[in-house]
Amino acid sequence: MFGYYLELALRSLRRSKGLTALMVLTIGFGVAASMTTYSVFRAVSGDPMPWKSSKLFVPQIDMWGPSGRSSDGEPPDAMDYTDAIKLMRDHRAKLQSAMYEISPSVVPADAGKHPIHVSGHAVFSEFFPMLDIPFKYGSSWSADDDTQRAAVTVISNTLSQKLFGDANSVGKTVNIEGKDYRVVGVLNAWNPQPRFYDVVNNGGGFSTDFEDVFLPFQTAIQASIRNDGNTDCDANPSESGFIGLQHSSCTWIAYMAELDDAAAVTAYRQYLDGYAHDQQQAGRFGWGPNNRLRNLPQWLDFKHVVPSDTKVALLVALGLLIACLVNTAGLLLAKFLRRSGEIGVRRALGAPRLAIYAQFLTEAGIVGLAGGALGLLLTGMGVASVSWVLPKDIAALARVDFSLLVLTLLVAVMATTLAGLYPTYRAACVQPAWQLKSN
């Protein structure tokens, strides 16, 4: 029976080519516009570590007090050196790392080459296992290296290839800011977007830069490798220079901790409050505890990492899709009711209402499929062209993949069938006797 309806549908669509083309174009453009904006939305709003993000937490400590809080009472979103180091020493989470953004220069061993500029982070050794960072060669440095302030580094595969070619560079030496560091690990391609572990230092959380070099936190501090990210101060540091920054209450350090279950979260919350309370007792804070402990999805939401433009664009495109569906419903209605005579004959010859439903929904489905095929093409073009319309750091993330293709087709067919429901209902209501008489 389905084959017969398919044939009927194709014949009917061929009969009014203009109307069919109009419907296919409408569905195609509507679906493509929403799928293109959706691909951008999906790229920026995705969970960077779906298997673990709910176990990763960002602690905030209120070291500035009431005068430094935002209008809604939030404490600073980064940490000063004193608190970050204290939290690292206390080591209350399963895994944790303070970190700051660096952008040192690297001098290639080849004397003929100019120095290059790289970006990266100064972190503690637990940073790597906490974020499940994949290594191509070697591994992270040890906790001992952290305390010994060892001159070791983990570099990206890109930097390794730039400096040493395809060879395994573990054990070789890299000159960073004029000092030699021994490579202990080389990362496999790893460049999560948004750069979720250090949102505060990446305006908006997205970056076109790669993370090329990681140094032990204390090693970088000792070598005076300056922070390249944001520095926020509630008061001017009393001493100048990088040392002055470390002694100040300026915030420039991001912090992340892994807490595996609710009990660990509660314990950590108590620990933070206890810490703030101790600071109050000691006279460093003149106010009660006002800490925050958000898990990664909550943190990204709080920091508005998904640009609101992306959400508005998606909404407007969905509005366009709805308008397209209303349009298709109107056109299908015109198309189906024009064939009242044919329906009357079929009904008079014994076709039940259900058969009319099946026939016309098949027709709607075929229009949807054709619209979806056009939509696929247009979505491909749309995703390709967002790269010259939207900022590179965001546009680079939008891509066409299998799931997007399937979703495009599915949305097109489902939506058109939905739009065809009412016209089909009207077609099924045609009274055979009345049609036969008037013809």
């Binding site: 952008s103 800011e177 004029g178 005076s224 100048s240 990088f242 664009a313």
Partner: protein
């Protein structure tokens, strides 16, 4: 022509009428809000920065193994390296002028501090963007001095990047001057930065200088201060003005000249950037949003027009006999044309009324959800006119076809 026959006919096509009206309502709601977004972005991008942007470019470079700026000897060494670079750049044949600079408007990186009228004030009166440069800063940037004087070579000091001791002299923007000294007598007055006790004297006022940090429109956008200070750090930025028409040549000459002077530094493909490039990058998201909204509007208008053509064509086909009868009874072609035009106006009018409600509703929702601004009524008014005109344009083709139905059709069997 009375509306009665039209209303009577519409009652027979309720579903079609509802669908067209609904589509016009949705189109109106989306197009008004989209055009409002586009207009806002265009207005934002077109604001002048206060700079003379033509022929302006920025050089950012980093020294390798630079002396430590935290001790006096290192600081002096860093400053002499910076001075050597400035001399090198000033000697380039295509360069008109050069100044060291901390940041430029729209660079999305810079420093911000508090300004107060009294010493040691805990809460600053207003926040301002800090610019640091030498006596060539104003002329290189092309800023317009509206009161007082420019910095002189004797005013210029140098200090470390994180040295927060307050400068003695400053030039401020008119917007900040008006905020601090509403009587327009800022020149010669004393202000205090970052709750410090050191007084800083205002020597001049410039017309306009946009924030480097936030390209949006907010309190900080136009409040800027300039200091006659060369900052010494392991990196340095220089702003250069090329001689007219020589921008490309000047930009290309910079990297080889600096490497020749001192190879122990990092200069990469992003180190030399024209101001046009900085501007384009800062506003890329806004321009992109405007383009995206325009494309969606165009698709939506085209789809709606196509829908009206399609459905009206169907109605014309359905009513051929009635049209024939009317023609046979003496209706002129133009009467038939007007009938369909009026019918469309009626449906589009109903759609527009619903659309106005939807448009305002959507705007209010965007305000609460995405901190958008309230849409002025003019956008809705223009939107209503636009959808009505779109309806009339779309209905014209099928209506013309209807008016060409010959009266003889009336005699055909149904």
């Amino acid at each position: 022509m009375t509306l009665h026959p039209i209303l009577a006919a519409l009652r027979k096509h309720k579903a079609g009428v509802v669908l067209i009206a609904l589509q016009i309502a949705l189109t109106l709601a989306i197009v008004c809000n989209a055009i409002f977004i586009i207009q806002q972005r265009v207005d934002m991008v077109r604001r002048p920065t206060g700079l003379n942007e033509d022929n302006l470019f920025l050089v950012t470079q980093q020294w390798v193994d630079a002396p430590d700026g935290d001790n006096p000897a290192g600081l002096e060494k860093l400053d002499s390296m910076q001075q050597a670079d400035l001399a090198t750049l000033r000697n380039l044949p295509d360069v008109a002028s050069v100044s060291p600079i901390r940041s430029l408007p729209l660079l999305l990186s810079g420093s911000v501090g508090g300004v107060a009228l009294k010493p040691l004030q805990q809460k600053a009166m207003v926040d301002a963007n800090f610019f640091y440069g030498d006596e060539h800063m104003l002329s290189t940037l092309g800023l317009r001095l509206v009161a007082g004087r420019d910095f002189t070579a004797a005013d210029v000091k140098h200090k470390g990047f994180r040295d927060d001791s307050e400068p003695v002299l400053t030039i401020i923007t008119k917007s900040l001057a008006d905020r601090l000294f509403p009587h327009g007598d800022a020149v010669g007055k004393v202000i205090y930065f970052d709750s410090s006790s050191t007084p800083t004297t205002v020597v001049g006022v410039v017309a306009r200088l946009q924030s480097p940090v936030d390209p949006g429109e907010n309190a900080l956008a136009w409040n800027s201060v300039m200091f006659p200070v060369r900052q010494d750090a392991n990196f340095a930025r220089y702003v250069l003005r090329a001689k007219p028409g020589r921008l490309v040549q000047a930009m290309n000459a910079v990297t080889p000249a600096l490497y020749a002077a001192n190879p122990m530094r990092v200069l990469d493909d992003r180190s030399v950037r024209s101001f046009a490039d900085i501007r384009a990058r800062a506003y890329r998201a806004d321009v992109g949003m405007a383009i995206l909204m325009s494309v969606i509007c165009l698709i939506l208008l085209a789809v709606t027009a196509a829908g009206i053509v399609g459905l009206t064509s169907f109605w014309v086909g359905q009513r051929r006999r009635q049209i024939g009868v009317r023609r046979a009874l003496g209706a002129r072609k133009v009467d038939i044309l007007h009938y369909f035009q009026l019918e469309n106006l009626l449906i589009a009018g109903i759609g527009a009324v619903i659309g106005i409600l939807l448009a305002v509703g959507l705007n209010l929702w965007l305000i609460t959800r995405f901190e958008m601004d309230r849409m002025p009524v003019i956008y809705v008014a223009v939107g209503v006119l636009a959808v009505l005109a779109l309806g009339q344009a779309a209905v014209f083709v099928p209506a013309r076809r209807a008016s060409n139905v010959p009266p003889v059709v009336a005699t055909h069997a149904a």
